[in-house]
């Protein structure tokens, strides 16, 4: 569904510019849950922005359903870490979802049903008339999920969506997201720097090296039925393996940033 071939992303002029991504290739299948995992500065958000169409490639290609990606597209919905800035703070919970439906030109007669369905799915149906500022961080993130799902995109691109939430809320969000994904069959590309989160959620994990010239170090299949527990031997073995791979990268990342 999404095909990335020899992608290269350079900031500034070539030669001499900063090569953020180099030689990235991956096929993402319809209905797949893919995690992009790596320490900060590995260009995973850049890759996600390119998949969304917000940024252009410097070389290589990104195809969506056989057509090159050019600009944002309603079939690929981006989901942001900072729900506060992604939502419209001057609209209530239900108005935020309605805004998306109107933008998507969904017939007016269906609005109420869709809003109720998706707000119930994320447990916000009792807070329809509240403003985002009156919600907790986890509730705002759930509202963003409801808004993103209401327009029924085929691909959800999620940029560290739960990184700012505390651990308990994050587990709950994982359960909600997994449930929705299993029911809807949407394709999800999920960026994270949390190994446990990637193992809990993904079908496949693409592990990225630190820039410059970030690329995939390894792409791993995650086996085992959900919900996955870090206590499972398979999961903990995977955790250890990924940690081994990433430890030198994290050191490099620190050296570069420090």
């Amino acid at each position: 569904m999404l095909e990335v071939r020899n992608l290269r992303k350079v900031y500034g002029e070539e030669p001499g510019g900063y090569v953020a991504l180099e030689g990235i290739s991956i096929d993402i299948a319809a209905g797949e849950f893919l995690c992009l995992l790596g320490p900060s500065g590995c260009g995973k958000s850049t890759l996600l922005n390119i998949l969304a169409g917000f940024e252009e490639v410097s070389a290589g290609s990104v195809m969506f359903d056989g057509r090159p990606v050019k600009g944002a597209d309603r079939d690929r919905m981006m989901f942001f870490q900072d729900a506060g800035s992604a939502l419209l703070p001057w609209l209530t919970v239900e108005e935020n979802v309605r805004f998306a439906l109107r933008a998507r030109r969904v017939p007016r007669s269906q609005w109420d049903d869709i809003i109720t369905r998706y707000l119930s799915m994320v447990d916000l149906n009792n807070h329809r008339t509240k403003f985002p500022a009156e919600l907790s961080g986890g509730m705002r993130q759930r509202l963003q999920i409801a808004r993103a799902l209401a327009v029924e995109p085929r691909v959800l691109l999620m940029d560290e969506p739960f990184a700012a939430l505390d651990a308990m809320i994050r587990r709950r969000m994982h359960a909600i997201l997994t449930d929705i994904w299993q029911r809807s069959g949407q394709t999800i590309v999920f960026v994270t720097h949390d190994i446990a989160e990637a193992i809990a959620l993904a079908d496949r994990i693409a592990i990225m090296s630190v820039g410059p010239c970030s690329s995939f170090m390894k792409i791993m299949d995650v086996k085992g039925a959900r919900p996955r527990d870090m206590g499972d031997p398979a999961s903990s073995a995977m955790f250890a393996e990924i940690e081994r791979l990433l430890t030198p990268e994290i050191r490099r990342s620190e050296e570069r940033l420090g």
Partner: protein, 278 residues
């Protein structure tokens, strides 16, 4: 035997009364202290002008009130207030309107920003007071010169705030809208302008206060009516009491206009201004 309950009742009633008083104090602490603040200041002023200062140089509140009364009765003061207010409002509204339109364009169109920003950055240091001499030559001492001066002062304050507001529109908000299929034109009106509204409103409040400050020198130097002119005329005639009437009028007017402005904003734009602190 029969007395004890009565005493209990009395004690309970007293306790209840005390609790109510405490509650009243807690709930109205702000307004009560505000009244106290103004009253104490007036008392202090009265005492100071009577015993320390020359009452001619610093007329006490009682004298100022006596001077104000005939001005209120004859409507003379309201006439001046009305004239000054009209000047402030015409200049403020036209200045804000132009600043908002130009500001969102500069904030959105890079070329326009690079083209206009250097000029704005230089011109905004010319306060309305600095522009009085040339305004008088351009527009005379009629209404137009005052409208222009207030317009000038408002323009740059609201402009700078509007541009800042447009720039601070979160990129995530615009991109999320793009993903929903909102086009560029709609993003401008449905996302950017609402996101910039709190900044614009703040700029307008500051500009409103500064308009009240600039109308006075403008009327002192180049007018034959208004509160500033009243100040100037009273000064020439050494009527210190009338000067104080004019000064107090400015205080009350500025304060009230700001409150009315805030009330209007709360009534019409509270969605945009009160919900931004996420």
């Amino acid at each position: 035997m029969t007395e004890t309950p009565a005493i209990h009742d009395q004690a309970a009633a007293d306790a209840g009364m005390r609790a109510r008083r405490r509650k009243f104090w807690r709930n109205n602490q702000g307004p009560l202290l505000a009244v106290l603040s103004i009253s104490l200041s007036l008392v202090f002023w009265q005492v100071a002008s009577t015993f320390w200062f020359d009452p001619f140089l610093v007329p006490p509140p009682s004298v100022v009130a006596r001077a104000a009364w005939p001005m209120i009765q004859s409507g003379e003061i309201f006439n001046d207030v009305w004239i000054s207010m009209t000047r402030v409002l015409v200049g403020f509204i036209s200045g804000s309107a132009v600043a908002i339109v130009v500001g969102v364009l500069i904030g959105r169109i890079k070329v326009l920003h690079h083209l206009l920003d250097p000029v704005i950055e230089l011109l905004r240091y010319l306060s309305p007071t600095a522009m009085i001499p040339i305004a008088v030559i351009w527009f005379g001492i009629g209404e137009m010169s005052k409208y222009f001066l207030i317009f000038w002062g408002t323009l740059f304050i609201v402009l700078v705030n509007t541009v800042a507001g447009v720039w601070r529109t979160p990129i995530a908000r615009q991109r999320a809208a793009e993903c929903m299929g909102v086009n560029r034109f709609e993003i401008f009106f449905l996302i950017v302008i609402p996101s910039a509204t709190p900044y614009i409103v703040t700029g307008m409040r500051v500009a409103m206060a500064s308009s009240f400050m600039s109308i006075i020198p403008a009327e002192i130097l180049a007018a034959d009516s208004g509160i500033g002119y009243l100040l100037q005329k009273s000064s020439m005639l050494l009527q210190t009491d009338k000067i104080f009437v004019a000064l107090i009028t400015i205080c009350v007017l500025g304060f009230m206009t700001d409150r009315v402005f805030r009330l209007l904003v709360d009534k019409t734009l509270s969605r945009f201004t009160s919900s931004t602190s996420i």
